[in-house]
């Protein structure tokens, strides 16, 4: 089971660093959605199903949509 933990942490770190280094803000919000997904699995792994369900309910649809609406109303490229 340790291999699942290592894999999830690897995806988490890669997506997190990628979200920081991107110039396009929409791509960053997609990568933040991936980070939220991996964090939800990790919460389930350490035995906290309530927190995992909260993270899933908010990070799956709502968080990405709010970021996209905010990016649509302002600029798209980071200076």
């Amino acid at each position: 089971m340790i291999i699942v933990d290592i894999l999830i942490c690897l995806v988490l770190l890669a997506a997190g660093v990628g979200a920081m280094l991107q110039r396009n803000l929409v791509a960053s919000s997609v990568l933040v959605g991936v980070v939220s997904l991996m964090v939800s699995i990790l919460f389930l792994r350490i035995g906290a199903p309530d927190v995992a369900m909260t993270e899933a309910a908010i990070g799956a649809g709502l968080s990405t949509v709010i970021f996209l609406i905010a990016v649509r109303r302002t600029e798209e490229e980071e200076q």
């Binding site: 309530d50 995992a52 369900m53 909260t54 309910a57 649809g61 709502l62 949509v65 109303r73």
Partner: protein, 243 residues
């Protein structure tokens, strides 16, 4: 340059947290936690210990949390409202798949959200998670049908009544049980693992679920809708409402 600096800061913070915080080691629970673990089931009657802590032992903090959520949604809704004279390009109507799928899936999603907050004392979940699922169902309708109007008056009344009901339950606990938001003696504790058990906890979580669901739906409607022209001509010269 800025990115290298942030990466270095991240690495230093990670190393500091790794060496200072004992991850993965089982620590002994303190006196308060031991009391919750030992007596949580018989004092509350619900299977979910997290729910009984959130609603009963720390119920006043949950009331404060619901208030903070209400204030933040009110503030965001006020700032993001469409001012008179603002117009934006009306969106193109979505495809047949999305419209039909959204209409078919709306009812099961709302039912699932209601299941989550009604069973808050039995399975993981509760008011906030169920409210977020209901708001996601309303978001799906808003994305699929560009002319969908949410009944703002009804949702405002529902949200206010749910919040008022929470405080009223607290006063009921004060009148019957002896302290604000008390769980003893207001409603019977019932048998373990049944739907009608755990005293006032299902009622409180139902009210919280309704409140959070309608709140987040209103916020999403304001955000998606800001700048939409109801019934006026949009930038392409066509009347709004032609699907």
């Amino acid at each position: 340059m800025k990115q290298i600096f942030s990466l270095a800061l991240l690495a230093i913070t990670g190393w500091l947290l790794w060496s200072l915080v004992p991850y993965g080691q089982a620590t002994e629970p303190g006196p308060v936690s031991s009391h919750y673990i030992a007596h949580g089931l018989q004092e509350n009657g619900g299977s979910n210990l997290v729910t009984s802590i959130v609603v009963n032992y720390r119920g006043f903090d949950t009331l404060g949390e619901v208030t903070v959520l209400f204030l933040s949604v009110a503030g965001a809704g006020f700032v993001l409202r469409r001012r008179s004279g603002q117009r934006r390009v009306a969106p193109r109507p979505s495809s047949e798949f999305v419209q039909t799928g959204a209409r078919m899936l709306f009812a099961p999603m709302v039912l699932f959200g209601v299941y989550i907050f009604v069973h808050g004392h039995l399975t993981p979940g509760g008011g906030f998670q169920g409210g977020a699922v209901i708001a996601s169902a309303v978001l799906m309708l808003l994305l699929a049908d560009r002319d969908h109007h949410l009944p703002h008056g009804f949702m405002g009344w529902l949200e206010s009544l749910a919040g008022f009901g929470y405080v009223l339950t607290g006063f009921l606990g004060l009148a019957i049980g002896g302290s604000f938001l008390a769980n003893k003696g207001v409603l019977p504790l019932g048998q373990w693992n049944r739907l009608f058990s755990a005293g006032v906890i299902p009622i409180i979580y139902t009210l919280v679920g309704l409140k959070v669901g309608t709140e987040l739906s209103t916020l999403l409607d304001v955000m998606v809708d800001s700048g939409r022209d109801h019934g006026e001509a949009d930038a392409h010269g066509q009347k709004g409402g032609a699907a």
